[in-house]
């Protein structure tokens, strides 16, 4: 039946990419264009006493110098944390915070002039680690939050978890640490701003979220959003790192308006490390009650997130560390407490898996320990406790199709698990882990009842179709999904469909390329738009052929009688007939996720139309003398619902495995103090690609990818997400494999040869062979937990002890309401 969907195809934008014609943001070159450089703070935490820009302004070739007073209005991606300014007005919060900007005739001149700006700082205490931020309330990095330097502390409880854990046969109490790491897209962030001939603002940017940039520009520049056009250029890799509205985008926009000339900025690689918004370092404690036959009675999870210097997506990240523990396994009672603190480091935010990989690591390593203690095969342990399909979890997440069991069985078979686990010679090991991820966040950031994705189609008399959607191509293949879905419904070829995407003037809103939402949400919107167009064409053709509409069929660029396929017209003729009958043919489709059943405050993070599932087995070779670790092979099975283009799906799985191995083995966004004779400032340890180690061609193992197709009714043609979920099981599977290989537990990420060697030395000395954090702090200022009765105990999704909220619309997961873009 399907002619496009489900076949491995050359993606629609492949030719542009292999010929170098894809126009990325830094490839936008305009007449009269000027160049911008930012002056960034050299101190981690300080008040700005004085900025002298006179020498820079007088430098030949300089057109404009800007400081914080040019941008008085704060902004931020979440309505609850509008805590950023395009240029710091009064204080700096990390080394790299921008304080001034120079716009000059060329980049070299701007770079020279930026160093002629003199800034006098009055240093403030530096907060280098979450423990510092918990211990010292003053000075506050921000004047908002949950007190002192705590950005947000949350607590949720579902059922009587204490009784469930106390009454269990075994209680496991483990502390884990997941180091921060960064996206490292090969494309450095770039933006170009210009005024169009009408005087309106146009911004091209390597952003994953043109709609949020659109809102933020309107707010920060205090101008009508209707007079701003944001064009998201194809991203040269995003992975979450281009999801925030950024200071450099607002600066060039402001400068272009002031100068009435195009202004470009392209960040250096070092500056990309300062933009960050990457994986939060998370310390976590899992207390889990287990029956002697391996069933979980309750989970009590605490997480402590090092948020860095700004809010970013941090409130959502905090909830995400505790959101998805319940969608893989049956967890009848659950308590989650999460705390995000501010520190004087580049802000953390969403990286592939957003907040969930850290706690997934802890959960899956702990399950390996549970299986070890109970003498159960880790695969069997998991298969025995799978969360059932089409149910509500303790925290009111609605599970749709659930292919995790099939995923586990497939990797167990393909990896030869039974012959390898605990049977390989010393130094060789295998480990297994599972995971799940959202197919799109069920709730919007800016709380409203509007669709999350819209698609508009224009049908041309030539038979060409143009599909407009705000979705952003970041390499994942969203343009290909859009085109394929429209072509499938209309019975034409993907090449007949032109995708126009990520342009706020031309395309209906799609919220952006994050939370693995685009295939499901844009796909459903595209199906609706294409079906409406097909219906118009079918009516016109049925009249012409004098057959019932139900018999009109679309395939091979023809519209014909299903019972007499020779009787029909070309697709182009069908468009003309429909246009003659109905007028210009244009249709729209939109998608809004189903309402969440989680009504408690904080319940806005976690719901999704459906969830993907993944199981992975990682094989390792560990040299017991040096601790050196090599990964020869990975087996991974992913429940993608339906693979719309299997070539692209496989690429997402392998790319996830790759990025996960980087996190598991080597990647660290780490910091150090400069020597006291310099400034003692807290600085990034190695803001360069050479020293921030990431895997090359030579480190990449064989990956055996298996796609499970559960055909989810919520997804377009049955599809679920694939861009993020397959990353999640790799880090814990690798940790579990190290234990299988050499019998030591590395309860933190990354798992380096040094840590393995240390654990082996501890074991040799008769001590526990473990490297990981010793304890979770006991002085986190937890609020009283919101108590929510699980659905099987009659709960309605509300908290019994929640203070009444001002209105339903006023709060969601701490993400308070906004009336939209400020005019």
């Amino acid at each position: 039946m399907s002619r496009v969907i489900g076949r491995p195809r050359r993606r629609v934008d492949a030719r542009a990419k292999v010929t170098g014609q894809t126009r990325f943001a830094d490839d936008v070159i305009l007449p009269r264009m000027l160049h911008c450089k930012l002056l960034r703070s050299t101190v981690p935490h300080a008040r700005i006493v004085r900025i002298d820009t006179a020498r820079a302004a007088a430098h030949p070739g300089v057109h404009l110098v800007l400081t914080g007073e040019a941008f008085p209005v704060p902004y931020g991606v979440l309505p609850v944390s509008h805590d950023e300014h395009a240029l710091c007005p009064d204080k700096v919060r990390f080394v790299g915070d921008p304080v001034a900007a120079v716009i000059a005739r060329d980049e070299a001149t701007a770079d020279q002039a930026v160093h002629l700006i003199d800034v006098e700082y009055e240093p403030l205490r530096t907060f280098a680690a979450p423990e510092d931020s918990l211990a010292h309330a003053e000075p506050r990095i921000h004047d908002y939050g949950d007190g002192g330097n705590v950005h947000r502390a949350v607590a949720l409880q579902f059922g009587d978890v204490d009784a469930a854990i106390d009454g269990a046969d075994h209680v496991f109490d483990d502390v884990f640490f997941f180091e921060g790491n960064t996206h490292l897209p090969i494309e450095q962030h770039a933006a170009v701003a210009a005024t169009d001939p009408d005087g309106k603002l146009v911004v091209w940017s390597s952003t994953q979220t043109p709609h949020y940039l659109h809102r933020s520009l309107a707010k920060a520049l205090q101008m009508p959003a209707a007079h701003i056009r944001v064009i998201a250029t194809p991203n040269g890799g995003g992975f979450g790192g281009k999801s925030d509205p950024f200071n450099h985008e607002i600066v060039v926009a402001g400068a272009a308006l002031l100068l009435d000339r195009p202004v470009k900025i392209c960040l250096t690689r070092e500056e990309v490390f300062y933009c960050h918004r990457g994986r939060h370092p998370v310390l976590m404690r899992f207390r889990t009650g287990v029956t002697r036959d391996g069933r979980i009675t309750g989970v009590d999870l605490q997480t402590l997130l090092d948020g860095g210097a700004y809010g970013s997506y941090g409130v959502a990240s905090t909830f995400y560390t505790g959101a998805l523990q319940t969608v893989t396994y049956d967890v009848p009672t659950y308590r989650f407490r999460g705390c995000r603190v501010f520190t004087n480091k580049p802000p953390c935010g969403p990286k592939r898996g957003h907040g969930t990989p850290q706690a997934r690591f802890g959960q899956e390593v702990q399950l390996d320990k549970i299986a070890e203690r109970l003498q159960v095969d880790p695969a069997d342990l998991r298969l025995n406790i799978l969360a059932p399909a089409n149910t509500l979890t303790a925290n009111f997440l609605r599970i749709g199709t659930m292919g995790l069991g099939e995923c586990v069985r497939r990797v167990v078979a393909s990896a030869g698990w039974g012959d390898k686990f605990r049977r390989l010679p010393r130094g060789h090991g295998v480990g297994l882990a599972c995971s799940s991820y959202l197919s799109g966040a069920g709730l919007p950031i800016n709380w409203n009842d509007l669709p999350h994705s819209g698609v508009q189609l224009k049908l041309d008399r030539s038979g060409g179709v143009t599909a407009f959607c705000g979705a952003t191509e970041i390499g994942q293949g969203s343009d290909d999904v859009l085109v394929a879905v429209v072509a499938e419904v209309l019975g034409i070829e993907p090449f007949d469909v032109r995708a126009v995407t990520g342009d706020t003037d031309l395309t209906p809103v799609d919220l952006g390329s994050y939370s693995s939402r685009v295939t499901l949400m844009m796909g459903n919107a595209a199906i609706e738009a294409a079906t409406r167009a097909r219906d118009l064409l079918a009516q016109a053709v049925s009249r012409k052929l004098e057959i019932p509409v139900a018999r009109v069929t679309f395939a091979d660029r023809r519209v014909f009688d299903a019972e007499a396929p020779d009787r029909g017209v070309t697709f182009a003729d069908a468009v003309c007939m429909a246009e003659a009958q109905f007028g210009t043919i244009g249709t729209t489709g939109s998608y809004t996720p189903p309402r969440s059943e989680a009504k408690f405050k904080g319940g806005g993070v976690g719901p999704s139309p459906t969830y993907s599932y993944t199981a992975a087995i990682v094989e390792v070779e560990v040299d017991p003398v040096t601790g050196w670790i090599v990964v020869p092979a990975v087996w991974i099975a992913h429940d993608v619902g339906r693979a719309l283009n299997p070539a692209l799906v496989r690429g997402q799985v392998e790319g996830s495995v790759y990025m996960a191995l980087g996190e598991a083995l080597m990647e660290e966004q780490a910091f150090r103090r400069l020597p006291p004779r310099l400034s003692n400032a807290l600085v990034h340890k190695f803001p360069s690609m050479l020293e921030y180690k990431s895997p090359t061609f030579l480190e990449m193992p064989d990956v055996h990818t298996d796609l499970v197709e559960s055909m989810d009714p919520a997804g377009p043609f049955g599809a679920k997400e694939v861009g993020q979920g397959p990353l999640l099981p790799i880090m814990p599977a690798l940790a579990n494999a190290v234990y299988d290989a050499v019998g030591v537990r590395i309860d933190e990420v990354p798992i380096t040869p040094e840590k393995i060697l240390k654990a082996l030395q501890l074991a040799a000395a008769g001590k526990p062979g473990r490297v990981g954090p010793a304890a979770f702090p006991d002085h986190v200022p937890w609020p009283e937990a919101l108590r929510v009765t699980p659905p099987w105990e009659g709960g309605d999704g509300r908290a019994s002890n929640e203070p009444p909220r001002r209105s339903r619309r006023k709060a969601d997961a701490g993400v308070e309401a906004t009336t939209g873009v400020r005019r």
């Binding site: 070159i29 690429g651 030579l698």
Partner: protein, 170 residues
């Protein structure tokens, strides 16, 4: 050759880029990357670090892959430079480009130009490389999207297609 690298000081560059002669005055301090992208508007060549760490800016100079971000443009006087724009023959893509497009070897496409020209240099000197030789040749090119495996397969497939085409010709 003495080159004045002060801002504003121009130096004459005479070379061939993608088979076409180039003769123009360029800033002496500019890298080949900057001259290709900014002066010649050949923006197919990308940059990820401008420090010689990522391989995104690779181009061929006299057939050898070099990092254009670490090469002064004026060092290329009299030499033949090939960028991604020079791989195809008119509308006909190079077999590497065809294979990369068919086999999912380009996701975001940003590292792709550098990898394509590096792979071309490999196939020019070793028409049937093993997977290990492909990985070795491309180890200086970082890609954050693909996990590399589809790239290795695409290079091998291109080599296979080129060998098949060669057999047909002879």
């Amino acid at each position: 050759m003495a080159v004045d690298v002060r801002a504003g000081a121009k130096t004459r560059l005479t070379c061939a880029v993608n088979g076409e002669p180039v003769d123009r005055l360029v800033d002496g301090y500019k890298t080949l990357l900057e001259v290709l992208r900014e002066d010649l508007q050949l923006t197919g060549t990308k940059h990820g670090c401008e420090l010689g760490e990522c391989g995104a800016c690779a181009v061929l100079v006299d057939g050898e892959p070099i990092l254009s971000c670490l090469t002064l443009a004026v060092e290329c006087g009299g030499r033949a430079v090939t960028t991604v724009e020079g791989l195809s023959s008119g509308p006909r893509l190079h077999p590497l480009q065809e294979a990369f497009a068919d086999l999912g070897a380009a996701q975001c496409g940003y590292c792709t130009p550098g990898i394509l020209v590096t792979a071309k240099a490999l196939l020019d000197r070793n028409p049937r490389p093993s997977p290990a030789e492909i990985k070795e040749a491309l180890a200086g090119n970082l890609c954050r999207c693909t996990g590399y495996l589809q790239i290795v397969e695409a290079v091998a497939a291109a080599a296979e297609r080129m060998a098949a085409a060669e057999r047909t010709r002879s």
